[in-house]
């Protein structure tokens, strides 16, 4: 086989790609006509050049770009391990499922064990709990931070409670001070779903570095994107092995794609009831999946990572400008509040319409949408009211009063780096116009 890389002058190809892309660049904002998305990718030519470079490698499966991304991403957090997967939802699935491994002995999660979480959020933070025959225990959230209410959380912990799995809602860190105190006191596992919170800090420390696992999403709506993609981070070599086994078909062997005999004992081991020396590449220690991503995706991610610090700052900037402009309407809206001791890298700007407001959530949302400003609900609202959860076994601690308020009266608009100051001005103008009309 002739290697493509041997016959193609890549630099020439990259120059042509850049030339093509510059001819396509037509970004122009026209207020009221151009849609302002709640999120989106922010690319320049470097992502596409990397994408083409990875394509020309013709390797396609997880390869050099994945290796580079994993290293750089783990370094960003100061952690020892990053494992790329094909989505943030897969990251959650793998992180939680890893804790069911028999290799953890008595520490492992067993069917019927309880996992503390919230119902106001994205379903795939909770679904892995259900998929592993564990019991989600839903706690109510606070309005403003939209994170778990930790005030009476300790009372929800029982002998069956083994883990806490929570998202930092829309980039706002949950109360890690209290959560870590409980994690230590009751010897619980903690999985931080950081899919919306890349770059957020708590007590000056990056979220994702507190728990046993952190998960991330690289879907286009998120802080950086690969199109599809996700990652599981951990500081434990033991957990990393479990993550990679469940990700890679459940196999025992840790050879990378295309590699053989990494352990040096491929045909020299006894595994269970298999014949002695059975090929280690085909020995399975878990009921696993195949959730790897392609090197093409990782190539895009490597270029995105370089922009991450700028993306984080731009999100914070946009959030600050919206918050400043919306303050005058606090009579009508519950505006977002950063969790004490935190500095969020916001995913979005959540707004709850107060019951006393002279308009409904649906009315303001319709107005924004008709003005070309995209809105979204806080994902599943109250997951226990979703059709999918009708027959799911779960426990609710106390009442989900605020969770229902989120479902009924909350929505969010975007702060992503593609939103310019001009767009923010327009968004605030649209709010002004709506409020003026409704209060006259």
């Amino acid at each position: 086989m002739i290697s493509l890389s041997a016959i193609v002058d890549r630099k020439q190809v990259f120059d042509d790609v850049k030339k093509y892309l510059s001819s396509c660049d037509s970004r122009h904002f026209c207020p009221g006509k151009t849609t302002i998305p709640f999120a989106g990718r922010v690319f320049d030519s470097s992502e596409i050049v990397n994408l083409v470079d990875a394509a020309l490698d013709t390797w396609l499966t997880t390869g050099r770009y994945a290796e580079e991304f994993e290293y750089q991403f783990a370094e960003f957090f100061g952690l020892s391990s990053c494992s790329l997967v094909n989505s943030g939802s897969s990251a959650n699935l793998i992180a939680l499922t890893s804790l069911t491994s028999p290799k953890l002995g008595e520490r492992r999660l067993k069917p019927g064990d309880e996992v503390i979480t919230v119902a106001a959020g994205f379903p795939t933070t909770v679904n892995p709990v259900v998929q592993n025959n564990l019991i989600p225990v839903f706690i109510d959230v606070e309005l403003g931070t939209y994170n778990i209410n930790t005030k009476n959380l300790e009372e929800a912990i029982t002998e069956r409670t083994k883990a806490i799995m929570l998202a930092h809602t829309l980039g706002n860190p949950f109360d890690l001070g209290k959560i870590m105190q409980l994690v230590k006191k009751y010897d619980l596992f903690l999985i931080e779903d950081c899919c919306d919170a890349l770059g957020s800090t708590y007590d000056g420390k990056m979220v994702g570095t507190f728990g046993d696992f952190a998960t991330f999403s690289f879907y286009p709506a998120h802080h950086i994107t690969m199109g599809e993609g996700g990652a599981v981070l951990t500081n434990s070599t033991e957990y990393e092995r479990l993550v990679r086994s469940f990700r890679d078909w459940g196999r025992d062997c840790y050879c990378d794609p295309g590699a053989s005999n990494t352990c040096g004992r491929r045909f020299e081991q006894q595994h269970g009831d298999l014949p002695y020396g059975y090929d280690h590449k085909y020995v399975y220690s878990h009921i696993g999946y195949n959730l790897k991503l392609t090197d093409l995706q990782a190539a895009v991610g490597v270029a995105q990572l370089k922009k991450l610090p700028m993306f984080i700052e731009k999100r914070k900037h946009n959030f600050r400008r919206l918050k400043e402009g919306m303050k005058k309407y606090s009579e009508f809206f519950i505006l977002p509040e950063a969790t004490p001791s935190s500095d969020p890298s916001w995913f979005a700007f959540p707004i709850t319409v107060k019951e006393s407001a002279p308009f409904t959530r649906n009315e303001i949302v319709a107005h924004l949408e008709s003005s070309k400003i995209m809105t979204r609900m806080l994902f599943g609202g109250n997951l226990t009211r979703q059709p999918a959860y009708k027959d799911v076994k779960y426990r609710i601690f106390g009442e989900l009063i605020n969770t229902d308020i989120v479902m009924n009266r909350n929505f969010f608009i975007g702060v992503y780096p593609g939103i310019t100051d001009e767009m923010i001005e327009y968004i605030l103008h649209v709010f002004d116009k709506f409020i003026r009309e409704r209060t006259q």
Binding site: D57, W59, S80, C82, E240, D256, A259, C263, G264, R265
Partner: protein
């Protein structure tokens, strides 16, 4: 989380005619833990092609600007290494791998034979760098005194003690293999307080694990891939 990289052999220490230490500077230096291993190839790798023929070796150093690999000539591939390894030679590396981690806290009893000392040399580097106060006993059976590598300077490592046996020549160390009684009598009643780390041939691992369990010692970790057996 591994890295694939080229590297350069900077120097070679020839401890014995069949035991060399290669000092290699990887193009990409990544963090690893004492006890982990790597894949070494004399051939160039390509990101578009499967990984070339290679062998696994413990990383026999930690926290240095270069990596040390202790290599015993046992078969065709290691013979090729001995033929082709010269300072300046480019090689390919993939690392780190393995769960035989030596950075866990606590007193350690290390039992090894021959080149099985290799992973524990990274521990010595580690203990030196972190200024650990834990107690480490190394029980090492080697065919020649030169196999003890730089363990002769063990005093520099504070609480590290060497109990060596040399089987094929007479020197200041007993001319025989270690037996379980050497271990138990040295550690005394405290033996159960130690975590035992074993590295050597399959036969050594099996027999020593059995003997340790007979002495009610349960905290045993072993690394059996470093048997330097070649197909």
């Amino acid at each position: 989380m591994t890295v694939t990289t080229g590297g350069t052999i900077e120097s070679i220490e020839k401890f014995h005619e069949d035991l060399w230490m290669l000092n290699i500077t990887p193009d990409k230096m990544r963090r690893y833990q004492p006890g982990q291993f790597l894949q070494f190839s004399l051939d160039e790798f390509s990101y578009s092609q499967p990984w070339p023929e290679s062998r696994t070796f413990s990383i026999a150093s930690w926290g240095r600007e270069y990596m040390r690999l202790l290599i015993k000539k046992t078969g065709s591939y290691t013979s090729r290494i001995f033929e082709e390894a010269v300072p300046g030679r480019r090689v390919s590396l993939k690392y780190p791998y393995g769960e035989f981690l030596l950075s866990e806290n606590g007193n350690k009893a290390i039992l090894c034979t021959g080149a099985g000392i290799s992973p524990f040399l990274s521990l010595l580097d580690y203990l030196n760098k972190v200024e650990s106060r834990e107690e480490v006993f190394i029980f090492h059976t080697a065919p020649h005194k030169s196999y003890l590598v730089e363990l002769g300077d063990i005093a520099q490592y504070g609480n590290v003690h060497l109990v060596a046996f040399v089987t094929r020549e007479s020197c200041e160390f007993p001319r025989r293999r270690m037996v379980i009684d050497d271990v138990i009598s040295t550690l005394g009643d405290d033996a159960n307080q130690f975590t035992f780390y074993l590295c050597g041939s399959d036969g050594f691992l099996l027999s020593m694990q059995k003997e340790l369990r007979n002495n009610r010692i349960e905290k045993i970790k072993s690394e059996s891939w470093t048997v330097f057996k070649e197909v």
